[in-house]
Amino acid sequence: MGVEIRVEGLTKSFGRQVIWQDVSLTIPAGEISVLLGPSGTGKSVFLKSLVGLLKPDRGHIWIGDRDLPYLPERDLYETRKLFGVLFQDGALFGSMSLFDNIAFPLREHTKKSESDVKRIVMEKMDMVGLLGSEHKLPGEISGGMRKRAGLARALVLDPEILLVDEPDSGLDPVRTSFLNQVFIDLNAQIGATFLIVTHDINTARTVPDNIGLLYRRHLAMFGPREMLLSSEEPVVRQFLNASKVGPIGMSEEKDESELEAEAKMGLDSGKLPPIPPQQMASDGMLRTGMHAPGAWCAAHGVTPPPGSFIDDLGRNWVEEWPRYVASLTPVGAASAPPPGGMPPSAPPPGGPGGQFPGNPPPGRPGGAGY
């Protein structure tokens, strides 16, 4: 089960330049959150602060009952074992093959036998579609492959929190979609807390349970997906619709005359586009962190834009949802984790020759002990 991250009044500056200040948000345990923001608003800096690679000037980051920026070094290294981090470029160790890269955390932090290590590594490599490349060096593969290998390495210790820095940069749209599906399925399987930093609006609209937006050195908004997608707040609206109309200009902020001109032309009064249905976990798995479609809107008396929650097949997911959830229950504990509980840990697929299952079972075989 994931761990909640509570950030209070976080401020970071380099020299005299303030990157962001007074950022407070709670990333709920076991849910997928996305952090958005125009280029250069310090999203990556925020991510690095969350793992303690950068020390904020002020504020607290609570991981459980531990305040990360003020931990002594030994506790910090211990706490970091809860994290899996996927860096922008994968950050693989250039001197090691992909296999050794992915096996590295297992060999460092667990006492698993080499055959166990091999099985787990192969399983993760299969999950990210890299089987057959295990002996290549990071310098010999493409950026997209490096990214996927970095993801596999971040996953081998079954982290409680997964931080992902721009999974879509340098990846083609098809692979981006697959990777998004991997994130959702992973969340269903291991129940980790996800924070994804991205620029990809499609990802931001369909994948997460929560969205946050950094703008002009502040956290403009953080909340459930439906809250932001139905928000009339100009910055949020402009960003989530990738629109030229709104306060964000090419150089961070538009000046007043530009905004007035836009208002005169009536560009800012267009309707919000419909809220797309959220991407589902495959294989009939139900994510415990997933919010029911339309629930937030209903609870807060917000009318979603017309056409919301309707998928390509014309099904309205607000109506479909109870049926969908009910249909999952009989599938049994093998695939659907009980709400609020630990995902079932399937027995390791043992047996002779059964080392590389083509399709890893849900749940985590042989969870790493740390």
Binding site: F14, G15, R16, Q17, I19, P38, S39, G40, T41, G42, K43, S44, V45, K48, V51, L53, L54, E73, Y77, E78, R80, K81, F83, V85, F87, Q88, D89, A91, L92, F93, G94, F104, P105, E108, H109, G150, R153, M250, S251, E252, E253, D255
Partner: protein
């Protein structure tokens, strides 16, 4: 884009790589106070942290051996090629002077003073700083730029313990042997030049050598070499771990490593030599 300082370029500051590789930060960081106070302070902080990491179990033997072998491979041949003419030129110069003073039979004695006490630690320092330190800094710096160091920390592994400590000891370990190598090769070169080219006699060379030489001469030279190795390793690690701003940043770091290491090693050489003469009396003849 009316005001360039708040434009896209400004937004990139502290953005992607996050630790301030921009021109602005470097400008702030290059002030006199920074050079005099902050940089040395951070360097000593790294030295202390590395010192603490030395006592963390288990020691990375594999990395140590790999690095030692790597340093040997980049230093041995240049060391020998430098040591032979170095020994020769010392014999020529000092031998010529001594002949003018009428003490030609003492040329062997000068070789001890010149080569064993001073020249071999100096040649060692040149190669340790120029070849080993620069290679080490380039390696660590490029890892830093590729975010490998960050990734290592996130995976719960202290890069000081994992990378810096074994490199530092490998450097010191190899420096010990390099110093011995330079002494031997330099003495052979000196002997060859003295006997073959200057018409000295082998007997006089060896006799005067034995008259002046004492074991502490070699020990202090080995001690110097060890200190040089540790220093070169620490400077390379410090500069490498603080490399920023892409490939050019690594180049800058390597450049600074070589310059700073040279300065420190020559200073240390002077200090240790001074102390040596205070504590170890010269042998009478």
């Amino acid at each position: 884009m009316s005001a360039p300082e708040t434009g896209i370029g400004a937004g990139r500051r502290g953005g992607r790589k996050g630790d301030g590789g921009s021109a602005t930060f470097r400008k702030i960081g290059d002030g006199a106070a920074n050079v005099v106070v902050r940089e040395p302070g951070r360097f000593f902080a790294l030295c202390l942290d590395t010192g603490r990491a030395c006592f963390v179990w288990p020691f990375q033997w594999r990395e140590f051996i790999q690095q030692a072998w790597f340093i040997v491979s980049v230093t041995v041949v240049p060391t020998m090629l430098v040591a032979i003419p170095f020994g020769g030129v010392l014999s020529l110069q000092v031998g010529g002077l001594i002949r003018q003073l009428g003490a030609q039979s003492y040329t062997g004695a000068t070789a001890v003073v010149a080569i064993v006490r001073e020249a071999s630690p100096l040649v060692t320092s040149l190669l340790v700083a120029g070849a080993a330190g620069s290679a080490m800094c380039a390696d660590i710096g490029s890892r830093k730029i590729r975010e490998e160091i960050d990734a290592m920390e996130v995976l719960g592994i202290n890069p000081l313990h994992r990378l810096v400590v074994p490199r530092m000891f490998a450097c010191a370990f190899v420096a010990l042997f390099l110093n011995g190598l330079v002494s031997v090769v330099g003495l052979l070169g000196g002997y060859f030049f003295n006997v073959m080219l200057q018409g000295g006699t082998p007997g006089a060379y060896l006799a005067s050598f034995n008259a002046i030489a004492q074991l502490p001469d070699l020990l202090q030279a080995e001690f110097k070499a060890f200190v040089f190795g540790i220093t070169a390793g620490l400077v390379a690690a410090y500069k490498g771990l603080n490399a920023k701003g892409g490939p050019k940043g690594v180049g800058d770091a390597v450049n600074q490593t070589v310059v700073i290491t040279f300065m420190l090693l020559f200073l240390e050489n002077f200090l240790i030599s001074t102390l040596y003469f205070q504590f170890v009396p010269s042998k009478g003849m």
